[in-house]
Amino acid sequence: MKEIHIKEGPFLKTENKTNNIMNNLLIALIPIILYSFYKNGIVPYINGKSTIYQMLLPLIMIFVSVFVTFFTEYLYGILIKKEPKNIGYHLKTKYSIFPGLFLALILPINTPIWILIVGALISSLIGKIVFGGLGYNIFNPALIGRLFIITIFAVTITNNGGYLNSYEVDAISKSTPLSNYATIETIGTYDALVKPYGTLWNFFFGSIPGALGETSAFLCILGFLYLVYKKAIKWRIPITYIGTVFVMTYIIGSLNDATLWYPTFQILSGGLFFGAIFMATDPVTSPTTPIAQVIYGIFLGILTVVFRYLTNAPEGVLTSILIMNMFVIMIDRLGAYARFGYKKIAILVLVQIMLILGLSLYIAETKENKVNVDPNFNIISKETKNDATTYIVTEKGYSSLIKAEVIIKDSKIEKINILEQNDSFYSKVEESNYVDKFKNKSEVEDIDTVSGATITSTAIKKLARNVLNDYMG
């Protein structure tokens, strides 16, 4: 007798299964992993700046992080959900290696391993398992791990050396482009922002300090094109995200007569490309309808610009993605309605356009490049004897007011000596007799701050710059 089974639904299925999508994602990430190993591992080793362990550190970090997130979900699956024990099953149904992989790639090179493990545990437990595993989490698990690491261990990481690997500490000796940008209150000039790291090409190819995998925009674009070709990515999100940041920073830049280099600098720094292409498009936590993806991308851009300019948190990309993850469900539903009637969505798009213009103008105006009067700088006395003018000035330091005497001779700083201060980190400034660095300098932009006493040294630098500006009239 014929054995006929009733089956359900369409009897043809595409070959492009979730497994293929995830494998493609992995393939797109491989160049980035290799480059981060090259930049943070091999280059310092060749220049004799790091040991074998430090050379392999990037790979070790990635391996440890991947292992922890995989093992947590594996244990949870076996002990609580009584799932089969073979590894293959877990690899195929949980894809738990990706939170670990992404977390490692967005962490600074000098993150102590135990912090990495804690971060991986948090991103796996709080980021994914508590919400119900693959497909149910609301926030991007890797970013949750990174967020908790920032809020809890930010200080320990910076003390351990922060973002710079051993080669970069001597070669460039500045912090990442964005945290260096944070010290400059204004829009910033080309040579203040870009020159210390070489040209914009360095930014593009990623030979700038930054998190493990975040820096190379070129490889991110390569990965993006591969994923678009394989139809494994929501391409609308990165394009609208980077586009909005570019547009807003272009408006801000052009209002302060900074040409096209300024928006390019802004999008190439701060891990925007990696964030936009790999973190914001994590399928589970991003919108599904095309219109919602566009709106999601634009809001991400707006939030990132707000974070970069109006708050002092350099991790703009990370926080804006997480914030937008909260609203994905709402926007997605609006996106689904919008496929039939444009009323509701039109209002939202209008609000976005107003936000983009409004914020850019507001930022451009408040972050004026012209010498704005530094509120906490004032000149107590100023006398000119024969050809030297001595200033007694005060500037707000880390925890106290710094009073200093500055002698200017034929428009160069002759001498600076600090009269009064009780900044807690002042001892560091004194040891490196930082003050002598200003000797016969007519321009202070390229004097670096003292690591470990950034705020105090920046205050002295501001003090000198304001005196020079005042002297130049």
Partner: protein
């Protein structure tokens, strides 16, 4: 917006159009377009001719149900129909005489009046043969001006080649019928929608189309579900209608329906046979066969050397995308069944949780968002706002879903929930 599917059409086209005209018993199903309240006009023991009335549908569309053979009514039995349900059928023993009443050599088919035209295609039981089985006369019976006729020869479902092989073998007759319909109903123009890469059909039409000025070919790209009425009208007329294409003065007919109209007008013959594709890797000789309505499919399959092996089969009435899987091969041919598909039972793969990749949203031809519908299954208000009732259950979303979720079932469930509430 639409899906690119593998075609699997070569195998059945290699075989020429066969015939299976001599079933011993015929079971005429008392159903039309899913509606089974039909008045039965015959009892056991009556003698019926080929094409004579066996029942008539109650309600607005009073379309007759006709017998496809001459013989004696033996009784009534229940058999499975295309939608998978058991339907009451009139069992007629075939006396192989095929005697037909008043088959007259009718006059030139273009000089029927509109009223006569409507009368004939109603009495001869002409219904849509694309799949819905909607009575054709109702499409033409309208006060509104019809300015375009679209002949749907797209056949976008894989495996099915019935329309194509019909078009290849009876090209002149079809064009003649189109011309007749255009003159009778004063329709200005007619588009025959054919797939771009269906070169044989295009060539077949091109060498005959010259003589008919009002008939033009319209090439559509090879996407699924391009054969869907709404999508075809949008493509050709560039406008969208609310509920019925007649609002834009457009009538759409499947190419097989046109051929049925032709044989009704020309030979005054009822819709009692149709070409059905028998396809699928589990059939020894997949091919197209002209069969009589009411013939049991089991008999036909045995006549074409049957199944490759009898184990682990899935028997589908209709195409792979919109067809329904039946519990047994006790299926009866009805006018709107265009394909019988016999394949190896697909192994049910491990369904992963939905990773919200958004592919089903991009691929839905009715612009719905299946994943959002799946999320709001217990919120009727949102389901209504998401226009869930517009879903045509074409299966594109389940096809494309990388996590192998049968998302069409979710949307179907949502549709039922809305119906319950209304």
């Amino acid at each position: 917006m639409a899906l690119h599917l593998p075609k699997y059409k070569k195998k059945t086209l290699e075989h020429s159009l066969a015939k299976y005209m001599r079933p011993n018993y015929v079971y005429i199903p008392l159903i039309n377009a899913g509606d089974t309240n039909i008045t039965v006009l015959v009892q056991k023991g009556d003698y019926v001719n080929k094409g004579s009335i066996v029942g008539r549908r109650k309600g607005t569309f009073k379309i007759p149900i006709l017998s496809s053979v001459s013989g004696i009514v033996v009784g009534f039995e229940e058999h499975i129909c295309y939608n998978g349900e058991k339907v009451k059928c009139v069992k007629i023993e075939n006396d192989f005489k095929d005697s037909e009443l008043n088959v007259k050599k009718s006059k030139k088919i273009t000089d029927f009046s509109k009223k006569e035209f409507l009368e004939i295609i109603k009495e001869k039981g002409i219904i849509g043969m694309g799949g819905a089985g909607f009575p054709t006369y109702a499409k033409y019976d309208t006060k509104r001006k019809i300015n375009t006729l679209i002949v749907n020869a797209v056949e976008c479902e894989p495996y099915i080649t019935a329309d194509q092989i019909l078009g290849l073998n009876f090209t002149e007759e079809i064009l003649e019928a189109i011309d007749a319909i255009l003159t009778i109903n004063e329709i200005e123009e007619c588009y025959i929608a054919v797939k771009k890469n269906n070169s044989e059909l295009i060539n077949a039409f091109n060498n005959h189309i010259g003589t008919y000025l009002r008939v033009k070919l319209f090439l559509v790209d090879d996407m699924y579900p391009m054969g869907w009425e709404r999508m075809l009208v949008k493509k050709i007329i560039k406008e969208d209608y609310d509920r019925l294409p007649i609002e834009l003065g457009v009538v759409i007919n499947n190419i097989s329906t046109i051929y049925a109209i032709y044989s009704a007008l020309k030979y005054n013959r009822a819709l009692t046979e149709r070409t059905v594709t028998f396809a699928g890797e589990m059939l020894k000789a997949p091919q197209n066969i002209v069969v009589k309505v009411g013939t049991p499919v089991k008999e036909i399959i045995e006549s074409i050397e049957g199944y490759k092996r009898a184990k682990d089969i899935t028997f589908i009435a209709g195409g792979p995308m919109m067809g329904t899987s039946l519990p047994s091969d006790d299926l009866i041919i009805t006018p709107n069944l265009n394909c019988v598909l016999v394949i190896k039972s697909p192994v049910n793969e491990l369904a992963l949780p939905c990773i919200r990749c958004g592919k089903c949203v991009q691929v839905c031809p009715a612009k719905l968002s299946p994943v959002i519908i799946k999320d709001n299954l217990n919120n009727i208000e949102t389901l209504k706002k998401l226009n869930t009732d517009k879903c045509i259950e074409c299966g594109s979303c389940s096809y494309i879903c990388p996590s192998r979720l049968n998302i069409r079932e979710c949307v179907k469930l949502a549709k039922e929930k809305i119906k319950e509430v209304r």
